[in-house]
């Protein structure tokens, strides 16, 4: 198991977990969201191949009301 930060919350996941797997498990692999890992955008096409490493910082963003 490794530990990663998802939206600033610590999570324990299996080594080799892909971003796609993580997002699916969190119920967030839907349209209208975007993901950054360690400060870089990971495009949707790369989710299935992107593996998370120990200490990775994942930010999952979506659009909300704002002026």
């Amino acid at each position: 198991m490794i530990s990663v930060l998802v939206n600033a919350e610590e999570r324990r996941i299996r080594e080799g977990t892909t971003l796609e797997r993580l997002l699916t498990d969190l119920g967030k692999a839907h349209s209208g969201i975007a993901v950054a890992m360690d400060g870089e955008v990971v495009s949707r096409a790369d989710w299935p191949s992107k593996e998370l490493s120990q200490g990775a910082r994942v930010e999952i963003l979506t659009a909300v009301q704002g002026g």
Partner: protein, 260 residues
């Protein structure tokens, strides 16, 4: 219902980066606590473009607004509100492009939470990076005529000076600066922030702005739908007046009836 024809009775679209919008009022979605009230206000405003913010997907308020805007066929202008540095704003813009499939962005980099004034250095830096990365940048800026020119030179598609700080409703505090910005601009100038009531929006257009962007003035009004309709009328009236050639201001009276 306000007729949306132009000063000559013809179509008078707002053209930004080659894209035509028939409404010169851009109403943001911020500040509304209720989606059905927001829906009625957006409809009354006649806006075709609206702002949204990017936040963590587990934050509250994330559900619903995108579905609403898609249903209403209103285009999205994601903002970078809350960003304090160019680096943060650039990352947020890239995330918005990925999430929403638009390369349009309302760039805002705030210097502090109390004034929410734009940080000029970080804003210009971010604008240069985003233009270089293919974004269509709407730059929120202070009412500084020099900075407005620099943002245009950086390649921004529209420059958006504030009338007064965000959410204050203090109107346009330095109308002459807005006129100076308009006088030299080759890109659309959109008055953004500080609008409190309809006369502020009309004044922005009379000063020569190409459009008005507002949120709280409508969403936090006691009757948002009615205020949205008022803003729509005001923007239209101000646009007509700006092209109608107002009379010069005089110190002494000048009779309009013939002498007896």
């Amino acid at each position: 219902m306000v007729e949306q024809h132009g000063p000559n009775g013809s179509e008078d679209p707002l053209v930004i980066a080659g894209h035509k919008l028939s409404s010169r009022l851009i109403m943001g979605t911020g500040g509304s606590g209720n989606l059905s009230v927001l829906e009625r206000a957006l409809a009354a405003s006649g806006t075709e473009l609206t702002t949204v913010a990017m936040r963590r997907a587990d934050a509250e308020g994330g559900s619903g607004v995108l579905d609403l805007l898609r249903r209403m066929d209103i285009e999205l202008l994601p903002n970078t509100a809350g960003c304090r540095s160019a680096a943060e704003a650039v990352l947020t813009a890239r995330l918005a492009r990925e999430a929403l499939g638009t390369s349009w962005v309302k760039l805002e980099v705030h210097a502090d939470d109390r004034t929410l004034l734009p940080d000029p250095h970080e804003t210009l830096d971010a604008a240069e990076q985003l233009v270089g990365d293919g974004f269509t940048v709407f730059a929120y800026t202070n009412d500084d005529p020099v900075l407005a020119l620099r943002l245009e030179e950086a390649g921004c598609a529209a420059v958006m000076p504030l009338g007064s700080p965000i959410g204050t409703g203090l109107g346009i505090r330095n109308p002459h600066n807005i006129e100076l910005i308009v006088a030299r601009a080759q890109v659309p100038i959109i008055l953004d922030a500080g609008i409190g009531t309809a006369s502020d929006a009309a004044l922005a257009m009379e000063l020569g702005c190409d459009a008005v962007l507002l949120s709280s003035a409508v969403t936090r009004a006691q009757d948002p739908e009615r205020m949205a309709a008022a803003m729509r009328s005001a923007v239209h009236a101000g646009r007509l007046a700006s092209h109608a050639g107002r009379i010069p201001q005089r110190f002494w009276a000048e009779a309009s009836s013939p002498p007896r």
